[in-house]
Symmetry: D2
Subunit: 336 residues, 4 copies
């Protein structure tokens, strides 16, 4: 049994992770931390949750676990990672701290000096389908952002192909409101959100943009720039990204689809939809899937890509990463 600790168990991502780990047949949850609810139980915060005691992060018994999951604010996550690694514990970070490889880029997007730049090179970017080899036995995993997961998975087959893409690539993304976190804010108030739909940080201003472009750069030199437009969607969970990729010349779906099939046909969590079927949230909510639909319109490929932001976009992918790190069957504890 893998002994696991969860830092930050009371946010939406942390709670989703607790639920997944409690059902995981090869994991024991040893502790869960919460700075706000320490001394209470997780069931005091969520009525369906188990009666898991919540402790302060500084009281976490690192010597009793094999792995910790960090569902902490950025910067706090990196500091905890240092402590955990020093104690010999594997770290699966769900914050943004180890996603960007460059400390200066991090500083400019996250308004903080990186607390542990020496670890950036070692951290494995845990978009599992991309980095399995490096994940095996890794000490430090950076679980990708939710939007990046939904956008990078369908872009990779195109970027690694020789298809003649011309930019910009446009990703028009819509996220359920759990993506905004559990802390009540005006824009997550039911009355403001329920009959509304609103774009935010569109163009080139959202923090997930440099993360996506960094990974795009791994797959093709001179990748076109990304225009990324997130929107707040009045549902609890799920991300749908509608992605537009232009080709220099006419290409057919018959030419495009094999790149996707070759890369994903055997991937348990990638659901390539047949011609004419579009990805929707209903394909993926409460699963670790990414559903991908392909539509060609003139010289433009319109990709619909759907994930559950809390599962494949966060806690599920973290568990998938843990499975690979510890060498157990990758789908264990996850809904295919």
């Amino acid at each position: 049994m893998i002994r696991a600790g969860i830092f930050g168990a009371t946010g939406y991502t942390g709670y989703e992770l607790v639920k997944l780990l409690q059902r995981h047949p090869q994991v024991d949850v040893v502790f869960a931390t919460s700075q706000s609810f320490a001394g209470q139980k997780l069931s005091d915060v969520y009525p369906q949750a188990p009666h898991l005691p919540l402790i302060l992060g500084e009281d976490a018994p690192l010597d009793a676990v094999d792995v910790v999951f960090l569902c902490l604010p950025h910067a706090a996550a990196a500091e905890t990672a240092v402590t955990a690694l020093t104690a010999g514990v594997t770290v699966i970070d769900l914050s943004a701290d180890f996603r960007l490889k460059d400390a200066n880029t991090y500083a400019s997007w996250y308004d903080k000096t990186h607390p542990a730049p020496h670890l950036l090179a070692e951290a494995v970017y845990g978009l599992t389908e991309f980095t399995r080899a490096q994940l095996t036995g890794a000490r430090l995993v950076a679980t990708p952002g939710c939007y990046p997961t939904s956008i990078l998975l369908p872009l990779r087959p195109l970027l690694t192909s020789n298809l003649p893409i011309t930019g910009p690539i446009i990703a028009d993304a819509k996220s359920g409101i759990s993506g905004a976190g559990r802390t009540p804010k005006q824009n997550t108030h039911f009355v403001e959100a329920h009959n509304n739909f609103s774009p935010y940080k569109i163009g080139r201003s959202h923090r997930h943009l440099p993360e996506i472009e960094q990974v795009m750069g791994w797959f093709r030199q001179d990748t076109p720039p990304l225009i990324f437009s997130p929107h707040l969607l009045p549902v609890e969970r799920g991300i749908l990204s509608t992605i537009y990729v232009n080709f220099v010349e006419r290409v057919t779906l018959e030419e495009i689809r094999p790149y996707f099939t070759a890369m994903y046909a055997n991937e348990p969590f990638i659901c390539l939809l047949p011609d004419g079927e579009l990805a929707t949230l209903a394909h993926v909510t409460r699963t670790n899937r990414c559903a991908i639909g392909l539509t060609l319109a003139g010289n433009t490929l319109v990709i619909t890509s759907a994930i559950d932001n809390l599962v494949k976009g966060a806690a599920g992918q973290a568990v998938q990463n843990m499975n690979v790190v510890f060498g157990i069957e990758e789908t264990t504890g996850l809904t295919v």
Copy 2:
């Protein structure tokens, strides 16, 4: 033209009132206050709102208005009422401060010593259909709570009848989330509320209980006790109260209905539904109506009563009261 000022214009009730008054053909909105947004405009808070400047309450030019509407927290409202009355301005209060006639009852339910107990006797309880005569020319009006409005309107014909009611009377009420106010809280977070439905302060513990029972007592001696169960409903606006009244002996709808008709047939805002039709939120949202349906089941009358909590339950009724106070046509500026 009636010159009006609004204290507390940025809450849901205040904004609803601004919208109603701006459309009212006999009102000029002279000022609007906000402690949090003073210096900004109302359009900075709500994207559809007019560019109304927001000022601090203490800067409000009381000498420039005939009437003020108080959409303030309790206690703060009473203090502002004293100032406004001293300045010779009519006060229409939408807080709870002048609803209860007894300062001790107020203190025990609202955890504050009443700031102006000497005004309690003068304040007119502005459930307009009940107190028109006293409202005409009144200086100080206490606009009722939203739940009390939805419950008292259908109860009055029964209480003033000689029908043999036996207690307790049960009011199972469901309110849209705007009733919880604009300040973000955990239970109004979209993710917590959207797929949920939750009772709160049920039985005899909600602050509207003493208000309802006080008014019930005006209509019948030895009224039965009220059991009042509010629930939080995942819609933006609207209250549906399902009310159960037991009779000592069998009574027919033919005997009951005339009491309602006699009292309400000519009321412009009371919509008595025909036999077999039940009140729903769809009957009333964005109107100043109260829809009432009557269903007899054995010796129990089941009343369905619907209002829009922000209109007939708050801002609309406040305008209706203003119309009566100033002697203009009662329906002016309101949706019948």
Copy 3:
């Protein structure tokens, strides 16, 4: 392994059942029928569903299964039950056909002559917590209605107690829209339902009333009449019933609670909430639980009772019944 067939797999209840049975470690789903979608796969109807072939009911291989679940319209269910029983297959019916013990009562509420009145005596009413002994080895199980489950579970400890109840008992119930079935109707249209809340068939006119009163009668002679008011709630799933029980004289929670504890403390699916905590949908959605909260107000006990209408109110309880019938651990395959 128990070999199971599902009749009517494409409705909301049928699909919920497929999901539960596919995860059940001791069940093989052998066939699934659909009159509308025969020839297609369940994944053509629900994007997350397995690729389960759908066949016509008349083509179902009854000789290949040990048990069938009937998620069929009433009357059709009884006819299929006869066929299945004749073939020696255990029947777990989720329709209303075998819930009422009296064929005349059935005829008057369901507008049909009962197709198999000779089976009514044998059919076991499968509110599992009530009838475990009879369920073991039963050939024919009538899974209760969703509203009756939410109302009868908390009423039983009161009815079997010697507490001095006086009538009527009032059950004000609110159900998510999946309870109205998958066939599109005007009142389930998103635009009609989303910002609405509406009572329907209130008082003594809903088909679940005779079912509830029948079972109440098993527990106490001269039970008070029930007033039952269902409402359509704009959420996908879940029922919250707020139930009002009056006592002839003052009773304390300390006197009441032991009756609940004695009956339910060891029940895996009954979640008795501590004093002051009220049941909400959030306690139960996607679980087989019934959460029960008790609040005393004067001489009235206000019970809040929540279930997931598709799980404990239908498919989950059907699986729970199957577990008991076949002598396997009752919680197998279900979320406690």
Copy 4:
């Protein structure tokens, strides 16, 4: 007073139109038709509606009206238009029948031979801000589609400018579910839609595509192709279109914005948002506004454009057109 008749008053567009016309100070609603509800009243269909009698279309007294509004299915609208024009009545059509100027294009997109091709040249495309001159005194007006309105309004200043646009132009549009009409369908069932978000007919397959491209062609020769992706959004009303326009070379917002200001600064219904503010549904629901936000990202202009699909996208714009046709103040009866 303008005497008006409404064909097809019980759909969402028809009912919205009734509400607008009943409040319009210079219109008398003389009749309203419904093939499904003839003989009943509009209040039998919508609980807040006026008690307007519904008659069969063939019984409509065309001699008693000055103008008719057609909220009918395509083809049926054209046939009624012929009859009304013959009777000397002005026609404001809200269907698709007179939007496309070419009968062959119509036939290929709407699967019908156009019933009245001789009227296509005369029909004025009523995107009011574009065609005011032709609308004055027109006999036949084609009110644009909802998506085209939201997309064409912000595109026009760019297309008539000399800014160096390079294609394709991408319009990623999200519509509330009232856009799918009142007839219940599987995809508008509350349970299917409420927690879902789904693209449909994306790329170059939706019927509004040829309409948009036709009008784009009026403003610039060699317009780039449009990629148009509609999505079904779980709200009642509102369309947000996120539109991506690429420039051949870097252009600044300071160069772009004057084209918008010049065209729209004095338009009462066009709300140009300041730099940094993005259009949301909250800007426009229940108004006749179009809110437009401009964001530059590299060489791409990201436009956010919001309307209420039932108002500026249908009934409101129809009334705006009527006002112009009859020479009355354009904003009469509409919410600016």
